[in-house]
Amino acid sequence: MRKPVIKVSALILLLTILMMLTGTAAFAQTDQHIYDQAGLLTDSEISDLEAYAAEKSREQGTEFLLLTTDSTSGMPIIDYMGDFYDNLADQTGMENAVLLTIDIGGREFYLAGFGNAKTRLDNERVEMVLDRITPYMAQGQYAGAFRETIETADRYMEYKPGVNPESIFLQTWFHAAVALILAGGIVGTMLYNSGGRNTTTAATYIDRDHTRVTRDSDRFRNKTVTRRRIPKNNNSGGGFGGGGGMTGGGRSFSGGGRSF
């Protein structure tokens, strides 16, 4: 009886070691997540966020990156971001990444998802993340914006592709509310009916032979027409580059940007 137990535990140990090895191997592609070329963050913010980004990157299998710059040297922010990523990916061989680019010169920011993050953080989800970080950007809290990006993207990427992660039907409070209301309704009805129900209806005592409409009229009187214009979807703060695209190096991505 002892032998199989030892065998199994040895196997588990071996598997654990193997997973740890491959895990570190797969995710140790980069140890730098923050490229603060514009110097927007303090040293302590950088070290904090590096640690946080590293942890979440390992969990998700996707690198969370931040790029800041004073100037895109005349290029659109999307192209600047694309070139930067092509360069980085060629060097480190990274496949999957979520990249937040802040151009403090042009006062624009752009969020992109590469590799598996392209589907796991699709365009709709990018827009939802942008909605959440825009207030941070407006207030100049760039560290907060990046932290929020990691936190929200990390959460959204758990959901199956194509699903709206903020949908009310997926919220725990909604499930709890429905469960409580349903239970209350059913038990309440049971209590109400425990003393016997009234089973007579409008049809019980009616005399169908002598109950009838003797005169009726439905006369058209007047007509009103109301028109309402459908408001156009305009992103506050000016959105651009929604829908993602392709980098110069041929890497396609999901993404969206705002100015602030």
Binding site: E158, H175, G195, D216
Partner: protein, 342 residues
């Protein structure tokens, strides 16, 4: 006036048997049809006009009755008696629905009902503590009602469509007018002050195909009461009962509109026929945890009404059970759809 129904065979006091619908003799088992029961076996004795005291013709004991009682048992010898002068003249019932559920069947039906109580305490569900079962004919007024309703309303039909980036809503307004003849037959209202109106309403409906012309022998062996409220006093109660029926009928005649708002609604209902009728009710007195609970059973259909004791534990268990399983089911669905549990 005290009435006994004497068995033509052996002279015992006969009582109405709910199972067979006949007068039956508890002693020799003889059964007689109520319609053809020989006159000479109906023993009646007129009480003196002044004295409101009745004596049992069997044993001579004074019958202890309340003023409303019209049928009872002699408390001394147990013989079924019918107090006939309380059932004649103005007090003569026009119709009766005889008991079709006998006492044994009533006990069985009540036990079955207690077993179905999903929120009642376990001890109550045994149904074995019936203190007393009383078969009682409860006085009802049945109203045949006819009337007219005149209704004016404004109905709208709405149509919404999109043209370019504009949503256009077209609303057509209509003047709606209806004149309706109304007729409702044999709407009951209980005329006994003792009986809880709500309880009696819940006992409905009775099957009117068993409605018989009243004959006194139906009451032999049961309790019966005479009415406390006359037909005029109760009409307002019947009116309030049928107004919702009328409203729903009016609503059913106006269809095809998105919204309807009534500008004028006049309902005029009159009684044109009234039947003083006795309905069969089994009263069940049940002891549970030192408290007496009263239930009523429709003596024709077996429907039971009355507030049973409620077990807090069972209510909590049902609530928790439903809430937890619903929550789990929703979580499972959202996991399948969204891929995330929390």
């Amino acid at each position: 006036m005290v009435t006994h129904y004497k068995c033509p065979n052996c002279g015992s006091d006969m009582a109405f048997d709910a199972t067979s619908g006949m007068l039956s003799c508890p002693n020799c088992g003889r059964q007689d049809d109520i319609e053809t029961f020989p006159e000479e076996n109906i023993q009646q004795k007129f009480a003196p006009e002044e004295a409101k005291e009745y004596h049992c013709e069997n044993c001579g004991a004074v019958l202890l009755t309340e003023a409303e009682t019209t049928a009872t048992h002699c408390s001394f010898c147990g013989a079924p008696v019918v107090l006939a002068d309380r059932l004649t003249g103005d007090l003569a019932p026009a119709k009766v629905i005889p008991f079709t559920i006998s006492k044994d069947e009533a006990v069985a039906a009540f036990r079955k009902w207690t077993k179905n109580g999903r929120l009642t305490p376990r001890g109550f569900m045994n149904g074995d503590r019936i203190k007393k079962m009383t078969g009682m004919y409860v006085p009802f007024w049945l109203y045949d009602i006819n009337g007219k309703a005149e209704v004016a309303a404004i109905g709208t039909r709405m149509r919404t469509y999109q043209q370019g980036d504009t949503v256009i809503t077209e609303t057509d307004f209509y003047d709606v007018y209806r004149e309706i003849d109304l007729s409702y037959l044999k709407v009951p209202a209980d005329a006994s002050e003792k009986m809880d109106d709500e309880l009696m309403d819940k006992l409905e409906p009775y099957d009117y195909s068993d409605l018989k012309d009243f004959r006194m022998p139906y009451l032999a062996g049961f309790l019966a009461e005479k009415y406390d409220f006359d037909e005029d006093a109760l009409f307002s109660r019947v009116e309030s009962k049928i107004v919702p029926y009328i409203d729903s009928y009016i609503g059913s005649t106006i269809s095809g509109y998105s919204t309807i708002s009534y500008t004028n609604k006049q309902i005029n209902a009159n009684k044109y026929k009234v039947y003083y009728t006795l309905f069969p009710v089994w009263m069940v007195y049940y002891d549970f945890e030192n408290k007496e609970h009263t239930f009523a059973m429709n003596g024709q259909t077996g429907k039971v009404v009355g507030k049973p004791p409620i077990s807090g534990g069972k209510v909590a268990a049902w609530f928790t059970g439903i809430a937890v399983s619903t929550f789990a089911a929703l979580k499972a669905i959202s996991y399948l759809v969204g891929g995330v549990l929390w």
